[in-house]
Subunit: 321 residues, 2 copies
């Protein structure tokens, strides 16, 4: 309930396990830290079951095969999967994929070329369906998902307006990532800035923040706008109930739609999407930034950076070289 | 602000106007009373401008041509249009359509074969896109729009579950209109009843109520559900701000969408839709019920019946035979 705190976690030291027949031992190199993790700490129905009390916390990882009794995986191979918050894992290979190190730094396998990148790609293109010339507004725009959404919007011929906290992040959006405008929600009146930067209204809003910001953007929708509901990081630690969007009747007034999605619905298209995105990266059209922290001993403060807007770029935990 | 009250209106008596060149004089027979009217009493941006202070209140009417200087319109013709809350109107014919009296009683031209019927038809079919076998839930199900939504859902091979207030309305839904189930929100736990009547979740929710009811249904959505936002009658008289749907993240969890629409977007398809609906009426598959009140002197109490759930069927004001 509420913000994750130190007493919600236990750091357990155990002997490194030995893989059995059909198994392999993995050494975690990178652990991806993502907002969805908070949801897995809640009881109740969602699109994925919660983590049980005492279980290893879930998390996307890049790991290296240390020992393998599993055909197709050899020591030294790099794999991506969801082996959780641990230094070593034993796996039978289900749900893992081999990483091609030539596509980019290994950490990108859980970043721009992994789940966050796929979230941006499928959410923007499949759900948001941007058309050239439209204005796309992105919340948490310097984050792992938002930064990719804005850059793909530009690639697709849209205007990209990012919302982020502080002049450093806003400068990064316009000067390094090519956003047309950035709105600093910590120092600007977002509604006023939106009216200025989106004089014809917002055609597409990619939301992973929710709360008051969602309401402010809803008030500025253009006719036939699409609001992509990717998440609601402002609401995940609430102890007083989720804030629903009071301005949702803007959907009626503007014949607009609000649609949620789960990136895993599009798992069959990851390969194709990753190749396209790697191409954009090679061409310099798609950049990513990582915010790297070392060691589990920094928890839960490291995880909380996400909910406090303190990370700058994709938040990653580095566990080994 | 708030519920319309007597002092918000003035009943003005004037001489019956004389039509000029290119005009005709219309005698109002039927005035349709609809929830959208409350929105036209608010200042601010919407899909249509508000009624000015001192202007004739807008409203859909069925009128009879009394005198005509307009080619194509002759005394005795019946026309449907938006001539407002008045006994007589002068019109140049713009925005009016002739009514074919053979399609049904004249009042249906502002009811099941008019704007409310078109709202149900286009909202359900174009926005909701029901598939055979799906479960369609309709709020305000005995009303002008809801009753048509449920019956068309049945025609399209869906299960129809209606929500209405009181045993009389609920009995009407299941016994006369062929709904599969009805939920009495005044006497039942709606969430519990929904779980019972929609064991596989709600595939399509047609909402013109909003408020707490929207939240209850959102909590029961099936995967890939559609929520059609047609209106929010529970919120139109609020003085404390619109209640946003706290459960909107159900859209994310279920990869569902919520979409608003304005019936006028589909004006070009009214003719075709009206013919199809008249065919369903003739075949006994589509029924309508009217709640008829006589005389402006009953206002605003008559209008308030809509917001208090006191009307039973399409609310109409009869002004002349």
């Amino acid at each position: 309930v509420g913000e994750p705190k130190e007493s919600d976690f236990r750091l357990v030291e155990e002997a490194v396990p030995t893989p059995g027949a059909g198994q392999m031992l993995l050494r975690t190199l990178w652990l991806s830290l993502d907002p969805y993790m908070r949801g897995r700490m809640n009881a109740g129905k969602s699109y994925a079951p919660p983590v049980g009390i005492g279980d290893v916390m879930v998390g996307g990882t890049v790991t290296k095969v240390v020992a393998s009794n599993l055909p197709g995986f050899a020591p030294g191979d790099i794999v991506e999967g969801r082996t959780g918050w641990q230094d070593y894992a034993v796996s039978d290979g289900v749900g893992l994929r081999k990483v091609d190190p030539s596509l980019g730094p290994l950490s990108t396998a859980v970043g721009v070329l992994g789940m966050p990148g796929m979230t941006a790609y499928t959410g923007l293109l499949n759900i948001g369906q941007p058309k050239p010339g439209e204005t796309v507004v992105v919340a948490a725009a310097s984050g792992a998902v938002g930064s990719v959404v804005g850059q793909i919007a530009k690639i697709k011929g849209c205007r990209a307006v990012g919302i982020a906290g502080g002049p450093q992040k806003c400068g990064y959006l316009t000067k390094e990532l090519g956003f047309d405008a950035a709105i600093d929600y910590k120092n600007e009146d977002v509604g006023k800035a939106l009216r200025q930067h989106c004089p014809n209204g917002v055609n597409l809003y990619f939301d992973n923040v929710g709360g008051d910001l969602l309401d402010v953007v809803l008030a500025q929708l253009a006719r036939f706008a699409r609001v992509v509901i990717c998440g609601a990081i402002s609401q995940y630690n609430t102890t007083t109930g989720i804030k629903g969007p009071s301005n949702y009747l803007s959907l009626l007034i503007n014949s607009a739609r609000m649609e949620g999605f789960i990136v895993f619905n599009y798992a069959s298209r990851y390969g194709e999407a990753a190749r396209e995105m790697a191409g954009w990266m090679a061409a310099g059209k798609l950049k990513s930034k990582e915010d790297i922290v070392e060691g589990f001993h920094t928890f839960p403060e490291t995880l909380l950076k996400l909910f406090r807007g303190e990370n700058f770029g994709k938040l990653m935990l580095k566990l080994a070289d």
